[in-house]
Symmetry: C2
Subunit: 570 residues, 2 copies
Amino acid sequence: MSSSTLVIPNGDATIRQPAPAPSPGRFAEVYSEVQTHRLKHSLPLPSVLKSPFKIVEGPPSTAAGNPDEIAKLFPNVFGQPSSMLVPSDSAALASNEKLKIGVVLSGGQAPGGHNVISGIFDYLQDRVKGSTLYGFKGGPAGIMRCKFVELTPDYIYPYRNQGGFDMIRSGRDKIETPEQFKQAEETVLKLDLDGLVVIGGDDSNTNACLLAENFRAKNMKTRVLGCPKTIDGDLKCKEVPASFGFDTACKIYAEMIGNVMTDARSTGKYYHFVRLMGRAASHITLECALQTHPNITIIGEEVAAKKQTLKNVTDYITDIICRRAELGYNYGVILVPEGLIDFIPEVQQLIAELNEILAHDVVDEGGLWKKNLQHQSQLLFEFLPRAIQEQLLLERDPHGNVQVAKIETEKMLIQMVETELEKRKQEGTYKGEFKGQSHFFGYEGRCGLPTNFDSTYCYALGYGAAALLHFGKTGLISSVGNLAAPVEEWTVGGTALTSLMDVERRHGKFKPVIKKAMVELDGAPFRKFASMREEWAYKNRYISPGPVQFIGPHSDDINHTLLLELGAQA
Amino acid sequence: MSSSTLVIPNGDATIRQPAPAPSPGRFAEVYSEVQTHRLKHSLPLPSVLKSPFKIVEGPPSTAAGNPDEIAKLFPNVFGQPSSMLVPSDSAALASNEKLKIGVVLSGGQAPGGHNVISGIFDYLQDRVKGSTLYGFKGGPAGIMRCKFVELTPDYIYPYRNQGGFDMIRSGRDKIETPEQFKQAEETVLKLDLDGLVVIGGDDSNTNACLLAENFRAKNMKTRVLGCPKTIDGDLKCKEVPASFGFDTACKIYAEMIGNVMTDARSTGKYYHFVRLMGRAASHITLECALQTHPNITIIGEEVAAKKQTLKNVTDYITDIICRRAELGYNYGVILVPEGLIDFIPEVQQLIAELNEILAHDVVDEGGLWKKNLQHQSQLLFEFLPRAIQEQLLLERDPHGNVQVAKIETEKMLIQMVETELEKRKQEGTYKGEFKGQSHFFGYEGRCGLPTNFDSTYCYALGYGAAALLHFGKTGLISSVGNLAAPVEEWTVGGTALTSLMDVERRHGKFKPVIKKAMVELDGAPFRKFASMREEWAYKNRYISPGPVQFIGPHSDDINHTLLLELGAQA
């Protein structure tokens, strides 16, 4: 395929028309109709990216916390201003020299990753003809081991608007030790890279900034840009209003939740307990609640803020179930974030104690070991269903620690609610019938076909990242804003990665971190939820969002969280 | 809403335009965009239903087996010919008298049930103005207890093209005893019913035929028609090519499977074991395999035909995993039908023995009770993972029987495959890495928004059922055929329910049954699968069908199973 069939000259059309694929490199002849249709889907660009542009910079930036420490950790890139792309009269403000750019996917999959790469690629095709894009294979390890593939139109095309990260795969390795930084340097020198785009979550973007700092400190030409990726939605700030993948994942989960709601209402006899992905933050659960109106939703951040115990959470659920039974409803839908038990202080305490005990003591069948638990932890342990007790004692990670992530919270809650309801039945305060059904919606969501929003957003993120590299920028995260407006009006720019950072003290040293954005209890999405949950609890306001539609009047709609956050900002 | 806004005069338009809903009775103001869009979706009718028609009948029918016994059980309705609606010159061959019709939903939900009711209702509006439609609430129990609601345009409209059975709910009761038949008679007499439409699976349609026989035997005017419903796809025959709901459910499951496949390919480190609904037959699993091309698919009917053991199944999976590891693939997707272990003769034997032992003996901790198992069953029991052993011993239904349905087959297989792989690793014949992830796709599928196919098919089934009642027919199942052709060319008629029947001997008596349609190993869908599975096993031909689309070029496509079966018939 010649590049002329793929590329529309600068500013020459409102919408990019992809070329037909002569022979998809991905897996010829095994695309579904919908996949094929998505392959041909045109990606609109923000207006500013469709004509000549220049960069304007804001004031120097600071850090999210401890700016002095961040400045010390990043002497070469700290304090950079934000960059914003704005229309320009003259066509060529950036160099015309061909570029060599690398791109890497880091961490768990999120729908849209392939479009970020397509965006970078198309920028190079459109604006710096003859440039080269390398994809590092298998995540940051691909950088360290210099494993890469040169990305060509034929190679990239079949992944356009498709889910997954399989174009170049991802990985969870980090570039951390001096030796690993050395390897990264060798790779970028070997490939003579002008730039590197790191597509990842909070850790990966911190890593991107460390690389940017390191390369600049050594006077190397390689610039590093980050891109905000995570379905969990916990990498965001004012300038970076969303991480990609969140929109698609939530819509897929919401489809399933809506179906389960219809099922609950039709049979009238099941309580569906749905655990949703999101270990650190509860954004996915909150968004799904706003989309579907479940009877009960547990938000981890609220549990933590109110210092609730597991018994509190159980009672909260049980109280609503009892009240609903009085209203004649012996069914319902309950959403729970994957990371719920991490939010409960007493559970964290118990697990910390268990980790100590498992490391040093013998866990005897008779249970004498329990005397080593503090009183509060003993009580909590006894409160847990037997299956969960066993899971806590038996399943450990390679470091010997309890595997909290493996605990099936939804099943645990069903058992605890069942026990509590049984008690109330004995006491005569509950006369209903309870049947719990457990669900975990996880892997299904993170590799779906990206929604129109994620497809377009990612394409702009990639296109913008390449532009920033072209203009010599480093240590920024690609920032596309004004997302509630039509795509034409979206803003494109970059934000200093250091401005997102704070430090944490680990092993006596300051470590830079991009703090995860948690659900804010005074934020617009939570407040909207909080104002409606009482009604949802007792009045069955279920909404069934249905399957994601790619064409039709509302196929470009964005998620509630983003819309509410943008509305609150406006 | 006046009926004139809802109804388009006979033969006056090609497509029915539903009226706008002034105030949806279902749950005002809480429809998603997609739900609202579906509400407005126009339902096309087969041509024959759009103009005057008459009925032509075929030759007398017989039974699927033991016609003499069926004839004895149904002396009044046995042997009825098939009825086919054909265009007619004269407008009014059926009576102009207003009709009173009842409708009931029976058994588990299937997408499209609401449209069957809409079809019945619209027929009455179009052709027998002033007629009344009653919906019996909560399934057959609603008939016995005379619990019903009169269905009006306002009541029905909000359920158009929507999933679930919540318009009048369903139930699993059966009308079986003389007392229950008496109650049914009283209800239809009280409501002065001309007809009753039973929407259900094989058992419910058998029940419909018994009611038809009973009412006719007593010279009552009430006719009874059946409609083929079940997502499992196991109620079908030549004249009834599909049960409704199967198309939608499979497409929803296939969306999720496709996503999980992309995940598997992207991470390269998980084997996803997916259990799919379908206890008696494996049609859903087969259809999902044809839609998505998994590496391994277990079809229960094949396991039964080949008299495979659990060890055989485990080895089959393990062999492919080992071979894939040699090819460099330590990931994959495996589909398993919910009813798998019911298909394995040795498991059935073990469970039968366990039921006996649990009923009469003490299950001692030391395991002495196992001596009561036959040798083969003892070996099998020891072969099972401990968690499954415990499930078999502890979880019993109200009759004290082992709850086979509760066994998480996908988790059991993961554990058994893990054990076998560990063994092979020790022996040096396997060098890969194995991580199993389990999924159960069940409730998410049976209450989704019906696809275009199920929406249209159900509407025609309902419209046709009402027509047959209008023409005085009873004891038939609504039959819509020629489904691979455009809707205009679909055929509409009715098939004698007795022609689908055979007898089973229970408690010394002959009982009529509609035999479940199992996956036929020499049928076109299985043969296509069998011819491709070797390639799918090792070459990763994954297809991601994506979310169901309601508009666009392929949104009317029908499922592979139906297409292949129709092709094979043609």
